[in-house]
Symmetry: C2
Subunit: 168 residues, 2 copies
DNA sequence: AAATATAGGTTCCTTTTTAGAACTTGTCAA
DNA sequence: TTGACAAGTTCTAAAAAGGAACCTATATTT
């Protein structure tokens, strides 16, 4: 499978990875959520090569995750900002950070604390069901192939019966 | 910044990316959550080269995300299964899938539907605050640098005052 | 007994990506 | 006139990934 084919796969995860599926892209997005907006700021903070930074920013803009906003004319300068679509990646970033806080940090714990403005507490994210509001884990979910996708999925990514049952 | 340095960065996101920060690793984990366990099954479903698959499985085992479990002696064969730590990546996978369902799919919608076993409904994940239980978005969170990390963060990844305020 | 199949790799060589440094462009300030 | 700044582009070298063939231990088929 090639990079270019990823966003055509019959799988939403693969298609999302076509946009954010490399480490630089996710680190760029982390910085976006920290308020970083300018080419040279990304470059200095990340230690990324200009070549790759240009490429990733272009890709993020082309998928509508970031948009360019002029902050100066003559010479024209533009900064990169999170769109609404980009802001919706926040749960993903938060999930990755939270996992790292728990499983990858040393005795000092989380480097950055997330404060929930409305309750004022340091929080970590909990995933809930959109329908009943209950908190969920992997074991509370079963999967079903959507009818409209059945043929395509069976051809390219067949999924056996037991599905998530086999995790338990 | 090198791959090898990532898991030493003063940032939980960077450290998590040291484990899952490339597209193949996340696709392997997707298949794990679908119940795939064996080397050749991963290979066939993903179209990944054996070389890379070997490398990624080794890395996931070394970080404790997967563990090897013998399913046959003579010849000894082992399968790869999600550990408790690996299962805790479910919110991340679910977040990526949900974003793709919403922003990357065609008119047919989501290829795979997630059913919440206890309420029986097709669901998508909502991120809630662990402390007060309210649903949150990017704009409901502000960030604070943990005291113990202040010096290290200021040296390597200085964070300006406005933080998330600037997203709004 | 010999040939073939299977699972899970490893080796070798080629192509693609990334790193690292230097160069470019338009404008302003000293 | 020279230098600085932001946001790139271009060049070469190094690292990673792709692709195909080979390896090992055992079981099955001919």
């Amino acid at each position: 499978m090639r990079w270019e084919d990823l966003d055509q796969q019959p799988c939403s995860l693969a298609r999302t990875l076509a946009v954010v599926g490399d480490r630089w892209t996710l680190l760029i997005l982390r910085d976006c959520f920290l308020g970083v907006r300018r080419f040279d700021a990304f470059e200095q903070r990340l230690g990324i090569t200009r070549h790759v930074l240009t490429d990733r920013l272009k890709k993020l803009v082309s998928y509508g995750v970031l948009y360019k906003s002029p902050y100066q004319e003559r010479p024209r300068r533009e900064e990169y900002r999170l769109s609404e679509i980009g802001l919706e990646l926040h749960p993903v970033i938060l999930g990755l950070v939270s996992w790292g806080d728990k499983h990858m940090s040393d005795e000092r714990g989380a480097p950055i604390v997330h404060i929930h403005k409305s309750c004022g507490q340091p929080m970590h994210p909990i995933t809930h069901c959109s329908e009943c509001g209950e908190a969920i884990t992997a074991k509370d979910i079963k999967l079903k192939v959507a009818k409209k996708w059945q043929d395509e999925l069976n051809e390219f990514l067949p999924i056996k019966k037991p599905l998530l049952k086999s995790l338990l």
